[in-house]
Assembly symmetry: C2
Homo-oligomer: 309 residues x 2
């Protein structure tokens, strides 16, 4: 086939997904592995390169390989200190793939990949300034400025999850206190719910170990404490978006990731808090909507999309 | 002369400066007026256009007119709701100047103009990602991302002064509470000093109405309260810069404006607070230095520089 194909690799703490993606965002073939199958990044690259080259024989025109991974640095092409992978400290992944496959390879972090997905295959095709927030275990973000990903001078810019929103607030995995992601994430909303539970009758009390999705189910069934936890979380995010607007003036903020599947519970409170805290000149300039690709392989599609940008 | 000349107009609440600037940043001719000489923006444009056309006869090659003004919007070419000027609410300034002079005209806000000045004539010539913070009555900022000014979707992005750093903090002129500029600005440091003065013996107590520069003079003479006020202010800015680094990852933050003339008193505490609050991956990646143009006509040079970008 004559359509240009790009290969996307989405590396997560548990799974690695690899897909061959056409210009419409259709995944023509997909394979996956458990991340812990590979002890090092090099072992992974050595294993996967011949599989890629074999599959590539089916296509005439391969653009290259895009990889999305935690702490993936676009500038250096290396995964740098990603504790969840259990691999080496610094993995020169694009170099390994280019050597082993002869294909042009780019690397970025997983949240930036989600933003590329929205830009190329989602609802941001015509947009020059937008933000994609991934609400998963943590809070990641990809920020597009003037039509380009914001990388800054180090390649690590755009970390909304690590803006401190409450001095002396919750302890964050980054070593500091009060980062946005300690409140707005699966981990954050579980902690909020547990704090609220100490004085309540919520059904969640009976479950020793509940997940974020249990909080949203409880809320859908009218559980007041779950609704309170969701409102608390949404308000913090809405206020933060009001602040980020004074910095980035995005036309749209897209929500994606596991938590964003419950966007109908989250977005009304986010919008209300955003509007109440927004600087006058920015009022009614920002939309908050779920990602178009929220149920799809956004990480994989975004990694592949990066080769088309 | 064959060198390309650009005209810079710096509109402030008190003065308007107009200059003809060559490619080296030399001001070949300069005129100025009191802002309140003109009742409307249109009156100003009508008055100044023939003066510009007359002076232009001296030069072969005029690039155009760059204007820096409070609330100047690069996208619309209008000054929008700038209370300090006392002019009409929306002034379509680039349109008025283009009609009256036939020259290409661009408008931006005063802090962005300072950033253009640093980019074209200052110490940021080789930089793609940097921030210029103007410390005057308020706190303004121009943010350069990927070598371009950050305007966002509205033209008003990059307002670091209006990020809320203390919920329920000081009342801000924008109608909200706790914005950075209520602490880090001439107004902010005066307020901090007055708060500290209620329980002290500082020499400043004897002065009924002191200015920010009096605080810095007192500090240079070892006044403990003045030093404390400066440290309080610097720490807040340092922490804020640590947060902004996770967003923008600038290689340098330049300080300019009246307060920044006392950079030797400010920068050590700013750096220390920044380093103590910086996310690990960004440690030692950001410089904080005074603008090269701190004592010059940075606003005027920046307005002119915009035509060379």
């Amino acid at each position: 086939m004559k359509d240009k194909i790009s290969i996307g690799i989405d590396i997560g703490g548990t799974n690695i997904e690899i897909g061959w993606v056409n210009s419409d965002g259709k995944i023509l073939n997909q394979v996956n592995y458990k991340t812990n199958k590979f002890k090092t990044g090099k072992e992974f690259a050595n294993f996967i390169a011949p599989i890629i080259l074999e599959e590539n024989k089916k296509y005439d025109n391969i653009l290259g390989i895009g990889i999305g991974a935690p702490n993936g640095n676009f500038f250096t092409g290396s995964i740098e200190f990603a504790p969840n992978l259990g691999w080496d400290h610094v993995i020169p992944l694009t170099k390994l793939f280019e050597q082993n496959t002869g294909l042009k390879t780019k690397l970025t972090n997983d949240a930036n990949a989600a933003a590329y997905a929205e830009m190329i295959y989602g609802n941001a095709k015509q947009m020059k300034n937008f933000i994609v927030i991934t609400l998963g275990t943590g809070l990641g973000s990809g920020i597009i400025v003037n039509g380009k990903m914001l990388y800054g001078s180090t390649g690590f810019a755009g970390e909304l999850g690590h803006v401190i929103i409450n001095e002396n607030g919750r302890q964050c995995g980054c070593g500091r206190k009060g980062c946005l992601e300690t409140y707005v994430s699966a981990t954050g909303i579980i902690k909020t719910t547990k704090e609220l539970l100490t004085q309540s009758n919520s059904v969640l009390k009976k479950t020793a170990n509940f997940e974020a999705k249990d909080i949203f189910s409880a809320a859908l069934n009218g559980d007041k404490l779950a609704l309170k936890a969701i409102e608390f979380t949404s308000k913090i995010l809405g206020k933060a978006i009001a602040d980020y607007t004074a910095l980035f003036s995005p036309e749209t903020v897209f929500l994606t990731g596991g938590l964003a599947k419950s966007h109908s519970l989250l977005i009304p409170s986010i919008k209300s808090a955003m509007n109440n805290n927004m600087l006058k000149i920015f009022k009614n300039t920002v939309e908050i909507i779920p990602s178009k690709l929220i149920d799809d392989n956004a990480g994989l599609l975004g990694a592949a999309a990066m080769m088309r940008q």
